[in-house]
């Protein structure tokens, strides 16, 4: 395929993915808006008012970056995992498999579809947070870079999940039993310096911690970890997951007999 044809194929997948999550907005966009508003109101406003400052910021300001990142992570991941698995389930993935679209374009299209939803939900949550607190950006470039790389990484994770999934249960197992605990224990609601030494060290094995803290650094200028390490870790995950996802597609794992 010529470059222009490749772009059309890529854009078609991306447009279809965006159309999908916009069409079912009560399932994709509304729930995170309601959930995060509740977090802001309960944890940030009611309870946060009694907690006081954390790293020099009000508790509400401290948790906002983490909650935005939590939305981006879960929505990027679930968009790709549910969309690709649905395409497998109703066999509409065959539309792509019979076409000349190369596998790397298929992967890129689905992943950027997940990124689009992650960023869109992230934007909604950010706008909602402004009703509860004010935000200043410490480093715009870093903030955008971290949120983008994180969305790419979790979209890739969702893709791998969808490839292996054989039922809708398989699609929800990883977000429920792995992603949610990692996110809650990834420094969204607290600084790891509040933890005993053992738990601090254990937290360092959680990749979500690096992303939440790097994003928080971009917004507030405070972080529990070295931000550059966070970028390196995310980039390594992206390269590994992209290569693995492409390998699975090339092998036809779960989609070709």
């Amino acid at each position: 395929m010529k470059n222009s044809e490749l772009f059309i194929a890529f854009y078609t997948i991306l447009r279809r993915e965006i159309r999908r999550f916009m069409r079912i907005w009560p399932q994709t966009l509304l729930p995170p808006a309601i959930t995060m508003s509740l977090y802001f109101a309960i944890f940030g406003h009611f309870i946060g008012g009694r907690i006081g400052e954390m790293d020099g910021f009000s508790y509400m300001q401290y948790i906002v970056p983490g909650l935005i990142m939590m939305s981006v992570i879960t929505n990027s991941y679930s968009n790709v995992s549910s969309s690709f698995f649905s395409a497998k389930f109703q066999h509409s993935i065959q539309e792509l498999l019979v076409s000349p679209t190369p596998n790397w374009v298929i992967l890129l299209g689905y992943v950027l579809g997940g990124v689009a939803r992650g960023l869109f939900v992230g934007l909604i949550v950010t706008l909602l947070s402004l009703f509860f607190t004010h935000l200043t950006l410490h480093n715009v470039f870093l903030t955008v870079l971290v949120v983008l790389l994180t969305a790419i990484m979790f979209s890739l994770g969702g893709f791998v999940n969808a490839i292996y999934a054989r039922s809708f249960d398989d699609v929800s197992i990883v977000p429920t039993f792995i992603l949610t605990p990692l996110t809650y224990l990834g420094g969204v609601f607290y600084s790891i310096h509040l933890l005993p030494e053992f738990w601090q060290q254990l937290s360092l094995l959680n990749p979500v911690l690096y992303m939440v803290n790097a994003f928080r650094f971009g917004i507030l200028g405070v972080s529990d970890i070295n931000v550059y390490w966070a970028l390196v870790i995310v980039c390594v995950f992206i390269v590994v997951l992209f290569s693995f996802g492409l390998h699975l597609l090339n092998k036809g794992r779960g989609i070709r007999n």
């Binding site: 395929m1 010529k2 059309i8 078609t12 109703q90 539309e95 019979v98 007999n257």
Partner: protein
């Protein structure tokens, strides 16, 4: 000579060890109307699955218009349009979007895709349903939608995997006309079907696959010539007498003896039967084959 489809020594062994294809060789000429027949589980769908990249082959070579599916997969796939047996479109998309989106996967610009979508949806009688969610269509409409989708990149070869399964007679005939029209315009058609009448009426050449092997590959005419005998059913305006017979012919009486079955061996003519009926003052009102001729051959070949 470049063939529309050229398959050599194609083998497929599934993970469980089942050998679906045991070295299939097949050539389909450009512009042909070709039937691939076989009983359930014979290897038809596996062969088609390999042709359109939905099944990984174990070994062998496959080329479409000279483009090898391993070495030049993009070119090979552009030549090919597929109408699968099962509905495989996104049921929540509109009819128009299903077709236009498929065009995008082939790198076709939106403007061209929309023009073609209008053309094919109109030809297939779906234009008034273009904004309907595809899940709302009837079974026949869904099948026509898959044909429109398969044609959107204007392929040289169109594979139809049992396109008329579960379709009513009127719609089946209109689909036959549409597919015949495509073939007359130069599109190579490969058809799998359980309706052998369909293959006999539409196809020029035929391959019969059984247990993963091609057991016959010839023209429909040549295959029918090998048929030794045929049975005709004659509807008469009066019953024949119990002792009425024609020497050299096996004749059975049905119902009230105003319908008879005549077995005609290759080389015999029906004239003597007509003359004998005429001699006793009985007219033939209508005549038809007892069973589809291809069906008889098919059963014979499959049973080996």
């Amino acid at each position: 000579m470049t063939y529309a489809i050229e398959i050599s020594d194609l083998k497929k062994r599934y993970d469980g060890g089942f050998e679906a294809l045991k070295g299939v060789d097949l050539k389909v000429e450009k512009g042909d109307f070709f039937a691939l027949l076989g009983p359930n589980g014979a290897g038809k769908s596996t062969t088609i699955g390999i042709l359109c990249s939905l099944v990984n082959k174990t070994s062998g070579r496959v080329s479409i218009f000279g483009a090898d599916i391993d070495e030049d997969f993009a070119k090979a796939k552009k030549y090919l349009g597929v109408v699968p047996q099962e509905f495989n479109f996104n049921v929540f998309e509109s009819v128009f979007n299903v077709v236009v989106t498929q065009a995008g996967f082939y790198g076709i610009s939106k403007e061209v895709a929309e023009q073609r979508a209008e053309k094919y949806l109109k030809q297939l009688g779906l234009w008034d349903k273009k904004d309907a969610q595809s899940r709302m269509l009837s079974g026949g409409m869904k099948r026509r939608l898959m044909i429109a989708r398969a044609l959107i990149h204007e392929p040289e070869v169109l594979i139809l995997d049992e396109p008329t399964a579960g379709v009513d007679i009127e719609l089946r005939r209109s689909m036959w006309e549409f597919i015949k029209g495509l073939n007359e315009q130069g599109t190579t058609i490969i058809l799998t079907t359980h309706y052998l009448e369909e293959a006999e009426q539409l196809c020029r050449n035929i391959a019969i696959i059984n247990s993963g092997e091609i057991v016959e590959n010839t023209s429909v005419k040549a295959l029918l010539k090998t048929l030794n005998q045929e049975t005709f059913i004659l509807d008469l305006d009066n019953s024949v007498a119990p002792d009425w017979a024609v020497e050299g012919y096996r004749i059975d009486r049905l119902n009230d003896a105003s319908t008879i079955e005549v077995e005609v061996i290759k080389g015999q003519s029906l004239n003597r039967v007509f003359s004998a009926l005429d001699a006793v003052g009985i007219n033939v009102l209508s005549m038809r084959n007892k069973s589809n001729r291809l069906e008889e051959l098919f059963v014979k070949l499959i049973k080996g």
